[in-house]
Symmetry: C2
Subunit: 205 residues, 2 copies
């Protein structure tokens, strides 16, 4: 039998899931407790008692987004050997999310960065924290590829990671705003050129 706390947890998960869908389609700023309650057929006070303020709901959405991103991109890539194979798997999975138009989920962080560039507060802090954690994880993976002898020892790691993220951001914009069906191939081509310039002769094919 389902316990009371299991039910409460399932309701909270449903609230965060509905809010994540809304935020992905209409932006984090569009989220309101009332609208989420309406979509789930709950009372606004019922939502409030579970998630707290609107800002707390926005932060919960970002944490849930992170969890899914890890699950879709980093967890499977960790099964690849350390070094270039793992780095390549991360980037390809990440780029694939930008052009996966079935799930509109890939835009919360990037759209959020432009929504919140001039707005201070816990949502901006959480967004920034997420971007910086992603960059740190990419940096670690690039460094491992250098240690493994797959990428050049004199590679500017910070520059390389900046260019990875710029490529993803541009790809996402072209997919979602220009709706250009060729853009996934362009992203892959740009990535392969970045890798070709950073590779050593000892790197796996």
């Amino acid at each position: 039998m389902e316990t009371r706390s299991e039910r409460a947890e399932a309701t909270l998960a449903a609230i965060v899931d509905a809010a994540l869908t809304m935020a992905a389609l209409e932006g984090l700023e569009s989220l309101t407790l009332g609208e989420v309650a309406k979509r789930l057929g709950l009372s606004k006070s019922g939502v409030f008692s579970r998630v707290g303020s609107r800002e707390q709901l926005q932060v919960a959405v970002l944490l849930e987004y992170d969890r899914r991103f890890q699950q879709a991109v980093f967890v499977p890539a960790m099964r690849e050997p350390r070094g270039l194979p793992r780095l390549d798997a991360i980037m390809r999975r990440w780029l694939a999310r930008a052009t996966d138009t079935d799930r509109a989920l890939s835009c919360i962080y990037t759209a959020g960065a432009f929504e919140y560039d001039d707005r201070e507060g816990p949502v901006r802090d959480q967004l920034q924290d997420g971007v910086l954690r992603l960059r740190a994880a990419l940096r670690r993976t690039v460094l491992q590829a250098i240690e493994a002898g797959h990428l050049r020892a004199d590679l500017d790691v910070e520059q390389f990671v900046f260019e990875m993220d710029a490529l993803f951001t541009g790809l996402l914009r072209d997919t979602r705003f220009l709706r250009d069906p060729l853009v996934h191939q362009r992203g892959i081509k740009a990535w392969e050129r970045m890798l070709a310039a950073a590779r050593t002769s000892a790197s796996p094919a």
Copy 2:
């Protein structure tokens, strides 16, 4: 003596200028006729009689933004010789705008692309039109650099222009959201590497 139509034109210019500042700081979606009227000490009906609907004001803001962008980036670059010098001047002026934090104007198109990716209507159409015109102008300039023998004849022009725009978008995000002071140098470094890979031996230094 100032004529009546000159006064009307000056008022319209002041309305569009105030709306452009608002849109740059808070997003195109934040624009309302009432708020613009308040900031200028005009009546809401006075603003309405001059610009028409909120959507027409948003479109007018985008056209004025385009005019200023042309003036700041393309007009001075046209004084450079055709080919690589002109292409390089355009990209450097464009990248400089991304990191010019005094004028927050550089973000209307990029932020707008994420604000309007799922919203249909005249504002989205105008945004898309602006992005496509910019891409076409960049494409022409890259083609001229190929004709001048400065860039490789087998260069994938569409790919090159996609990567120029992705670089700008990533740079803008890092400047305005991460507030990273080193990012302008990173943008220039990435651009110089793109050029180095596309150059012929006949290209000017």
